[in-house]
Amino acid sequence: MRRRLMMMVALGCGALALTDFAAHWDASATPSPTSTAAPSGLVAQGHALFDSSCASCHGLSAQGISGRAPSLHGVGALAADFYLQTGRMPLPNPKAQPLRTSPAFSPSKIKALVAYVGSFGGPDIPTVQPSRGSLAEGQRLFGLDCAGCHTIQGQGGIVTGAIVPALNQATPRQVGEAVRIGPYVMPRFGEGELTGTEVNSLARYIQSIQHPDNLGGWGIGRIGPIPEGMVAWLLAAAALLLIARLLGERTSEQPERPPRPGGGA
């Protein structure tokens, strides 16, 4: 209770909080706490938020809890930004698969949390510029490295034990982040495996599949034969059965013809 009160105070007043959390800093033996005024204010605000919202799994100084959640030391602003912007964190329970939802925190709070996690070191938020990438290279790389799980049109799929998310909402920055993190059960790709330019190309390809031209008409999900078969049966076969039903029955019990003056029996 006292802690929470303190945190509320900290949230309200950055300067006061700074002194409070400087103590934590030393305790957690983190190298060189950032001491410049504005970022450290942000870091402090993030720390407070972290302790109230994330620490139950990741530990009070983000060092991780064995068997529950990994340490966040060294994952960098990149990972924090990815998980928080896509609403994957916080998780309802530590065993659940992080899936994309609307972010749990306001943009300013996310900024603070990202600054806090980033303060432990690790990669910064990458700059991804799809316009600098090549669409064809993106298609080739996506086919080689990503389509096995995400499907070639980024519509999501499964791997034994986990759901693979669709990429319909992934922003270029989130693509660049996910490639380096390997969230949940996804593999990750280092600079030596996917260069920044190649990530630009991947992001460009993912943008293109988010805005498909669907030249053939109604796209029906772009996952191939399952929806196509459903349309063939539920639409075409149903329509043809209806047509057959209308055409096939000219039974004498049900005269279809209106009575005509002078008409036969």
Partner: protein, 330 residues
């Protein structure tokens, strides 16, 4: 319970019109014929028929001016739909409505059948060694079949070689899709790469990227977690492992690498998964089947790292690449 059934049954009947009385009236003559069409029906059919060329011309115009798939489909589909309407309306309203009775042919003619049998028997009249002749004809047929089929077996001797062939040899470097040598330092933990043998020739020569024996997946895990069999202890330098990328079940490309990041993740450890039937292979213990239909472990390629830090094959694949077949050594 039976009441429930009854209700369902009655509902189905009601929906399908099955409740329509179909009493037994054996001697009814169902033939009937009505002629004469209302004037408005004739005009309606004429009107629909006249719309057909309009829609057809629209299709032609679109085809020439702007062949947009959706508009073309709409125009041609409308043309055909109008034609269908005209034909159905004409069939329903204009022409005589008739119910006719046709006698069904009897088909069987026992007398003729008997005669045919006798005539067939007469064809072999006076021949005493019928069985011997039939046997000889059978031998002739079998010989002809064998003459046609055996050339297929000519594929046989080289077949095992052809189906098991892989361009991997000790010392052959791993390259990526673009042909760049793969550096051990570039492979980070939890990563997933596709590699090919360097300088192994084209697919036609049995070595290009399109050859099933070529592609391998390269992953890196924490060496402490490895559970490789003792004889493969040095196959994974620095925890870098290579497995054939072709599934041993049905030849799809193993293009999924599942590697849990968090300790609380419910799925088991790192595994390679096939996207076709979800065969799941454990990468830590040498590619054993964890789940799915594959009947054989994924072949592993022993690796070594040369002085320049390039990954190289240290030997042959641990087993035949790709799906099994009869006689495949297992």
């Amino acid at each position: 319970m039976s009441r429930v059934w009854k209700t369902i049954v009655m509902f189905v009947l009601w929906r399908t019109g099955g409740l329509r009385a179909r009493g037994q009236q054996p001697e009814v003559d169902p033939s009937e014929r009505h002629t004469g069409a209302p004037a408005w029906a004739e005009l309606l059919v004429v009107a629909v028929l006249l719309l057909v060329p309009v829609a057809a011309l629209a299709f032609v115009a679109l085809f020439v001016l702007d062949p947009n798939t959706q508009l073309l489909g709409l125009a041609l589909g409308t043309t055909l739909a109008l034609l269908a309407c005209a034909l159905v309306l004409a069939g329903r309203w204009l022409v005589p409505q008739e119910t006719k009775v046709e006698q069904r042919p009897r088909l069987a003619d026992p007398d003729a059948a008997r005669e045919v049998t006798e005539q067939a028997a007469e064809g072999v009249e006076g021949i005493t060694r019928r069985r011997l002749l039939a046997g000889a004809a059978g031998v002739a047929g079998a010989g002809l079949t064998a003459a046609v089929v055996i050339p297929v077996a000519a594929l046989g001797p080289g077949l095992e070689e052809q189906l098991r062939r892989t361009p991997w040899r000790a010392g052959r470097a791993l390259v990526d899709e673009q042909g760049n040598p793969m550096l051990a330092a570039d492979i980070i933990e939890r990563s997933f790469q596709t590699a090919f043998p360097q300088g192994a020739g084209t697919a036609a020569e049995g070595g290009g990227q399109e050859d099933l024996g070529s592609p391998v997946v390269v992953v890196r895990v924490d060496p402490a977690t490895l559970r490789l069999p003792a004889e493969r202890a040095d196959w994974a330098p620095q925890g870098i492992l290579a497995y054939s990328k072709i599934c041993t079940h049905a030849a799809c490309a193993i293009s999924l690498f599942r590697d849990p990041l968090s300790p609380s993740t419910e799925s088991k450890g790192p595994a390679l998964v096939c996207p076709c039937h979800y065969s799941t292979f454990d990468v830590l213990d040498g590619g054993s089947v964890e789940f799915g239909p594959a009947g054989r472990p994924l072949p592993q390629l022993p690796l070594t790292i040369d002085s320049a830090g390039v990954l190289r094959a240290a030997g042959l694949m641990s087993g035949p690449v790709g799906p099994s077949w009869w006689g495949d050594p297992s």
